[in-house]
Amino acid sequence: MRKNLLKLVRVKEFAPEAQFRDPFPSFTLPNVIKPLRFSCMVLCSYCNDCRDLDLSRDSALLEQEWRCAVPRCGQPYDRGQMESALLQIVRQRERLYHLQDLLCKRCRGVKADHLAEQCTCGGSFGCEESSADFLRRMQVFLKVALGQKFLLLRDCVSWILEGP
């Protein structure tokens, strides 16, 4: 499939552009390597252009000023709104972590009881989204906050990453 896709974009199979480069170090989880995808939809208030801002792949994007990508528009996005939107995502994700389902590691059933320490099948419970995954996602936000100098976002994400 890779060969066909590269043919479509007219890149030679072994050209340097075709090499897969993961900008972030991959964490080796047992038998699985999971690179993180992170992007958000941004709406330009001037030209109503709707675009995907990929924050996990585009490392250059983290540093530069964010502007509308439409050539005729090019207006910078409102910093206050961007920071606020990112902060809301952080807050929502934090809340969702504490509301997530606990799954039995053995039978993958969702935990219903509150006080039980073990599943009825005898297996122990694990988080649907592990704390390691969650903190990795938060690292992306921290990088964005530092790169774009969003001070409030930086304060908030630092607290999440470092603890009290």
């Binding site: 206050g80 606020s84 939107a85 606990l102 509150h114 039980a116 122990s124």
Partner: protein
């Protein structure tokens, strides 16, 4: 221990010394004895001289420390960020609490969530085991069966016959079906048949020590029966596996002293352990602090001009009194609009905080002598909406901190230790949320004031926020920060509902009301534990809901015991300590009593 013989004058000297410490006379006597032991005397007969020498030594030491106002001020008032409170877990095998040392990550493992519920349950189970009506009888006697209401574990209900008492968390494990869950298992419950008051009067003749009060129309006790609260229920397991409940209610309260005697040496509050000397000195200080006052304001919208004007009025007023308040507590929300997607002017909010700092700074006496404690509200900007909530981000508070060095930014909830008094502050719209989450409308037998139901609920549950975790998520490893065990002296519940105050079983509880909406706030005197509910002139008071007295001090006074007609045998006294029913009824908690 050497036995001493005292001459008559020596006895007088001892009595006059001990008499100076009214509430702490045991400690004073112990201290005196320690000092006398330290001195070397030729004989064991003490005369006036020798006692007087020791007494003046102690009093000198006491006054020397107490004379420095700054020193005493600093040690007298301690703000404890709730994230710093040590975590204690209960070991059911050894029957003791032990401190959890080691890391406590904000994002815990799956086991931490089960531990949250289990720890809450253990806390109440070990408390109820000391209650004389639920404890296992030590000696076998014929009277045992009829009087003991020993708690049975749900697992051992299987195959048992007859009426049993169980304790469990109300859980909706299946849609629409409620269960009671304890450490061993869960059982479906049927609450529809709780017996009425009339029938129960017959029942109580067989159990002379158990007096049960029920609201005839609702057949439950006071408080909000919310999912995830822990209740005690009496009933029978039917053949279809359902536990039919005949009576139920919250676990009985335990006296602060009783809890403390068990927890000797364990720092549950987080303020550090004091030696007996320090306790003595601080309790003296507390009694002398007649002029100390804390002013509590909740919902202080710094981005609203009207609110800032009102605040200026309040500060102007207190700037000109003889003794300025020692502490101003400003609780959130600090922004008139919640921190959500539509709000994006954080930089202007930061400017408003700076302006607040300038406003405070323009009152020199207050700036010099008063402390300012800032507690974030549920909708203030910050990393999360999960409890406990960390202090306001430095982004907002840096400037203010520079302008007002006496400002402290703390968590929500927040603990305060004033001398020996333990005060808990919590800003959350609990009343509305508890009422919404309540499974049954609260009983109107003892009170129709929802605030009183709320206080009853949180004190009996020993938890500030017993809402289901889906309604109010809690950081799994930090649930101990929301505990109310042992009972604190005072709980301040910042709530957007109308201001209110209520003294329940020795605990003073008040809500200053919304300052921005209603212009109300509260002044608290720690020395006497008096609450003065106040309002700015010209502010419209909201129509009062339910029962309760009028505004201001009248309400606080009315909240003290009003003997209700059902308590014909009991004499109530209008004191702080509402202990009544010493020999009858096992609920010794004050009125309105959740007696059952």
């Amino acid at each position: 221990m050497i036995g001493y013989t005292l001459k008559a004058e020596a006895v007088e000297e001892v009595l006059s010394f001990v008499g100076q410490f009214e509430d702490a006379d045991d400690e004073a006597l112990e201290l005196l004895l320690d000092e006398i032991d330290n001195e070397s005397y030729k004989s064991t007969i003490l005369d006036r001289e020798s006692v007087h020498r020791v007494v003046s030594l102690l009093l000198d030491a006491d006054s020397a420390v107490a004379s420095g106002p700054d020193v005493s001020n600093q040690t007298a008032l301690r703000v404890i960020d709730v994230f710093n409170v040590p975590k204690f877990r209960y070991d059911p095998v050894k029957k003791v609490f032990y401190e959890h040392t080691g890391r406590l990550p904000i994002h815990g493992e799956a086991s931490a969530k089960a531990a949250l519920y289990r720890d809450r349950f253990h806390l109440l189970l070990q408390r109820i085991s000391r209650d004389k009506h639920f404890s296992r009888p030590v000696f076998d006697s014929e009277m045992v069966d009829s009087q003991s209401c020993e708690i049975t574990s749900i697992q051992s209900l299987i195959g048992s016959v007859g009426r049993k008492w169980i304790m469990g968390v109300i859980s909706q494990l299946e849609d629409g079906h409620f269960f009671l869950e304890d450490l061993t298992g869960a059982v479906p419950v049927d609450l529809s048949n709780a017996i009425s008051l009339i029938e129960h009067i017959v029942y109580i003749f067989h159990l002379p020590n158990l007096i049960v009060f029920f609201d005839v129309s609702h057949k439950i006790t006071s408080g909000f029966f919310v999912e995830n609260t822990i209740i005690v229920a009496e009933g029978e397991l039917l053949l279809n596996g359902v536990f039919q409940v005949s009576t139920c209610g919250f676990p009985p309260l335990e006296d602060r002293e009783a809890s403390l005697s068990l927890l000797m040496g364990l720092d549950f509050f987080g303020s550090g352990i004091l030696t007996s000397e320090e306790t003595l000195r601080l309790s003296q200080l507390e009694k002398k602090a007649v002029n100390d006052m804390f002013v509590v304001l909740s919902d202080v919208w710094v981005d609203n001009d009207e609110t800032m004007e009102k605040l200026a009025t309040v500060l102007d007023g207190y700037e000109n009194v003889d003794v300025v308040p020692s502490l101003f507590v400003l609780m959130g929300n600090f922004c008139s609009r919640p921190c959500n997607l539509s709000f994006h002017s954080f930089s202007s909010l930061r400017l408003k905080f700076t302006k607040l700092g300038e406003m405070i700074g323009s009152h020199p006496r207050i700036k010099e002598h008063s402390r300012f404690l800032f507690i974030p509200g549920p909708n203030d900007p910050g990393p999360s909406t999960v409890l406990p909530r960390c202090a306001l981000p430095k982004y907002f508070t840096e400037e203010l901190q520079k302008q007002i060095p006496n400002a402290i930014f703390s968590s929500n909830p927040c603990r305060l230790k004033f001398c020996t008094q333990e005060i808990v502050f919590f800003r959350n719209d609990l009343l509305y949320r508890m009422r919404r989450s309540s499974l049954i409308p609260p009983s109107t037998e003892e009170t129709s004031d929802p605030f009183e139901h709320l206080v009853a609920t949180i004190t009996h549950q020993s938890h500030l926020c017993p809402l289901p975790l889906t309604v109010q998520p809690v950081v799994w490893n930090y649930d101990h920060c929301l505990r109310l065990y042992p009972n604190p002296h005072t709980i301040v519940l910042g709530d957007s509902s109308e201001q209110n105050s209520f003294k329940y079983s020795g605990i003073t509880c008040f809500n200053p009301g919304s300052f921005s909406r209603d212009g109300t706030f509260a002044a608290y005197r720690p020395c006497t534990r008096e609450v003065e509910l106040s309002a700015l002139e010209g502010c419209e008071a909201r129509p009062k809901c339910g029962g309760g007295g009028g505004g201001g001090n009248a309400r606080a006074a009315a909240a003290l015991i009003n003997p209700s007609p059902s308590y014909t045998n009991r004499k109530s006294s209008h004191r702080d300590d509402h202990r009544t029913m010493k020999s009858e009824g096992y609920y010794d908690c004050g009125q309105p009593t959740i007696a059952w």
